[in-house]
């Protein structure tokens, strides 16, 4: 039993530390799960920028500890001020018991699975664990494996290892916790009132249903999907309640962070953000005069975070135009139209993907029905579907551009890339649930 204590300690620290940082840095009105996710990302970005700046590791660790202690101090003061009349310990309803109970079960499952089964999967080891080890030892940027790939996930993995020693499994604990926080965000940001029980049960089912072990296999696709989904959810929630302006800023922040997770994230980030701006152009134009500075701040934040890694590696003289070695280059992407004869083969693999995931088709159809029956959610559903459409098109275009053998490339990557839509299907499913839960045209549920 003693060998469980140390990894459990690592696991609980992942649950607590980003939460404290986020709680101290964000306004208290922000949902707790969002505070955790913000704290989680900001820790990663802090270490990543210090690493790119080649600040000595010892100094960075000490500064990090200093900032964390300040955050602890601020959090304690905030808690005392917020709960002057004592903390209510057992204010738990049945729906929240269901959702938090399911999350606890899921976290226990993920913890045991990660710790009992060492990392497997060649890319997970060579690229992402290799990067995490490079960050852990603070090796020079040019000596990092696959340096053209950004590595926010690997940096967070490395930070956990910096605290608890070089155990790769401890670093992978971050992914299921982030997944849980995504669901808590969906739970706590949406006001469901009298349909709370049904909604909690739906979310709990979705939590288990959409989980797949690739979430913590070291591959970053599911993490990318979660971050993308979070950004989309925040943009949607902002359009429903424009007074909560932090949702727009956080949406921009998480959308930009996609570019720090994987190269494909730059594209997904741009699609998420540009489609949002185009769809809400009319609404935002009305507010533009009053809030122009606010919107520009968001746009700047998005592009600074999104382009951070590309700019950083350019400063080190690395060519960011060779996206994936010599297999995919910018020139190849521009000349992709020459390979339209590949459509039948690519189509076969897409067909196989949807045959393996028939529920996605049901969710897709369900969301279209919801859009027709409930006009209130039409724009939300169109927004998500447009992202899936444009991103799928860009994936197809990559297969037009690749110089690697097409079948090999399709077999090794298509399913993984299409899984990047996972969180968008979760959001679509949540939208469909509204069709069943609400009887009026305007609902209490506002996603």
């Amino acid at each position: 039993m003693t060998q469980l204590i140390y990894p459990l300690l690592a696991f609980f620290s992942i649950l607590v530390i980003p939460g404290i940082v986020g709680y101290a840095l964000l306004p208290k009105t922000v949902e707790k799960a969002l505070q955790w996710l913000f704290g989680f990302f900001i820790i990663g970005i802090f270490f990543l920028s210090a690493y790119v700046g080649m600040i000595p590791q010892l100094l960075v660790k000490n500064i990090g500890v200093g900032i964390f202690l300040l955050c602890v101090g601020k959090s304690v003061i905030q808690v005392v001020q917020e709960h002057k009349h004592g903390i209510r310990l057992f204010a738990v309803s049945l729906p929240s018991l269901i959702i938090y109970g399911s999350i606890c079960l899921f976290l226990l499952y993920a913890f045991a699975d990660i710790y009992a089964n060492p990392i497997q999967g060649q890319d997970g080891i060579v690229i992402w664990l290799g990067k995490a080890k490079g960050f852990y030892y603070w090796n020079p940027l040019t000596a990092i494996s696959f340096v053209r790939y950004p590595g926010l996930g690997s940096m967070l993995w490395a930070v956990v290892m910096m605290v608890f020693g070089l155990h790769e499994s401890y670093g992978r604990f971050i992914y299921p916790v982030a997944y849980s926080m995504f669901f808590i965000t969906l739970w706590s940001s949406i006001n469901v009132k009298k349909y709370a029980l049904s909604y909690a049960l739906c979310l709990a089912v979705l939590l288990f249903f959409f989980f797949r072990p690739s979430l913590y296999s070291g591959y970053q696709d599911d993490f990318l999907s979660l971050t993308g989904g979070l950004s989309v959810a925040l943009f949607i929630l902002y359009t429903f309640d424009m007074k909560k302006s932090y949702r727009y800023m956080l949406g921009c922040f998480f959308g930009g962070s996609l570019g720090l997770i994987k190269n494909e994230g730059v594209l997904l980030g741009l699609i998420v953000f540009v489609v949002f701006l185009l769809l809400h152009f009319k609404t935002m134009r009305k507010e533009w005069k009053e809030k122009s500075f606010f919107y520009i701040k968001g746009i700047l934040l998005f592009f600074i975070v999104l382009g951070f890694w590309t700019v950083a590696i350019s400063l080190y003289g690395l060519d960011s135009r060779n996206i994936q070695g010599d297999q995919i280059t910018l020139q190849g992407i521009f000349e992709g139209y020459k390979n339209f004869n590949r459509i039948p083969i690519i189509g076969t693999y897409f067909y196989a993907y949807f045959l393996q995931n028939p529920l996605f088709i049901f969710i897709f159809l369900g969301s279209i029905i919801t859009a027709i029956v409930r006009p209130l959610y039409r724009r939300t559903i169109i927004y998500i579907l447009l992202i899936i459409f444009f991103h799928s098109m860009s994936i197809i275009w990559v297969y037009f551009a690749t110089t690697a053998p097409l079948v090999w490339h399709l077999e090794t990557s298509l399913f993984r890339l299409m899984d990047q839509h996972m969180s968008l299907y979760i959001l679509l499913a949540v939208s469909c649930i509204q069709l069943f839960l609400s009887t009026k045209k305007s609902s209490h549920i506002s996603l």
């Binding site: 039993m1 060998q3 469980l4 269901i98 399911s102 079960l105 899921f106 226990l108 499952y109 045991a112 699975d113 710790y115 009992a116 089964n117 060492p118 990392i119 497997q120 060649q122 080891i125 060579v126 664990l129 290799g130 080890k133 030892y137 090796n139 000596a143 070089l166 155990h167 790769e168 499994s169 349909y195 029980l197 049904s198 049960l201 739906c202 709990a204 089912v205 288990f208 249903f209 110089t403 690697a404 053998p405 090999w408 090794t412 069943f436 009887t439």
Partner: protein, 286 residues
């Protein structure tokens, strides 16, 4: 009363209860599976150590053997090159040491049969998608696995004899930008249908981490003969060595795993009286 029943019970309450029931059933099924699997994993965690689990998971990577050898290597800057029957598994990423670069002075072979250290057939080339234009003929092959050296080709003709010289150009991939070598294959004078061509100089570091990317062979007939022999080549076999040990001496064997040091390095250990390395060798002998 009837209207109240219709509006509140039938339209709202019943669908809600029905939905909740389905969801609870689904949740229970999922929950049971997750709990079962969690208990199995927890049992495993309690009964084994982290290193034991790694050794078992990475048995095919030779994790225990590599861990042992790397732990007794006297120079922490040296991590051996590891070679497998297929391709590198980068085991150094799994060890608690900082490996920026592997050092070819020491080589570890994992589960390698004897024939993989000798010359043999890598694969058979096939006609490329690119159509022959009469003077040039395009062939392609892929290696998938890692190979140290390319040593030659074997051409097998159909009913026509190999009578005029041909030029072979080997390209790194279909873009035909990087030439790996170019040779002239002369007929042997006996008019054989089966021609084995050995490269005058082996191509070293031939194929690593290629995936299924094709090498391209371009054949050109050198003299105008009555028959275009390019059209009569039935297949081409590609020859090479998977793990080339000609520069190495094996110093330790454990089953099908082995450790080898370069001849040069072994000589310098003797010449410069490198005590730590001598101790390493004697430790291996034990």
């Amino acid at each position: 009363m009837n209207q109240f029943f219709k509006k509140n019970i039938l339209q709202k309450f019943v669908p809600q209860v029905f939905l909740c029931f389905i969801l609870i059933v689904l949740l229970c099924f999922q929950g049971i599976f997750f709990i079962q699997y969690t208990f199995r994993n927890l049992k495993q965690i309690v009964s084994t150590t982290e290193e034991q689990r790694k050794g078992r998971t990475y048995a095919s990577y030779g994790y225990d053997y590599i861990t042992y050898i790397s732990s007794i290597i006297p120079d922490p800057q040296i991590f051996p090159v590891t070679r497998y029957i297929n391709y590198s598994h980068n085991v150094e990423m799994l060890l608690p040491i900082n490996v920026v670069k592997t050092d070819g002075k020491v080589l570890i072979g994992i589960n390698l049969p004897e024939e993989d250290t000798k010359e043999g057939v890598i694969t058979t080339a096939h006609r490329s998608e690119k159509q022959s234009d009469g003077t040039k003929d395009y062939w392609a092959f892929n290696t998938i696995q890692d190979y140290d050296a390319l040593t030659g080709f074997r051409f097998l003709m159909d009913d026509v004899r190999f009578v005029s010289p041909i030029k072979i150009t080997l390209f790194n991939d279909a873009s035909e930008e990087k030439i790996l070598g170019s040779w002239i294959v002369e007929p042997d004078g006996k008019g054989n249908k089966d021609i084995v061509f050995t490269l005058p100089i082996k191509i070293k570091k031939f194929s690593f981490l290629r995936g299924s990317r094709d090498f391209i062979i371009v054949l050109e007939q050198m003299k105008n003969a009555d028959v275009n022999i390019l059209n009569h080549i039935e297949y081409i076999e590609v020859y090479g060595i998977k793990v080339n040990l000609e520069d190495y001496q094996i110093v330790h064997r454990s089953g099908r795993n082995f450790t080898a040091l370069t001849h040069d390095f072994l000589r310098s250990i003797e010449k410069d009286d490198m005590k730590a390395w001598k101790q390493f060798l004697s430790q291996l002998e034990k």
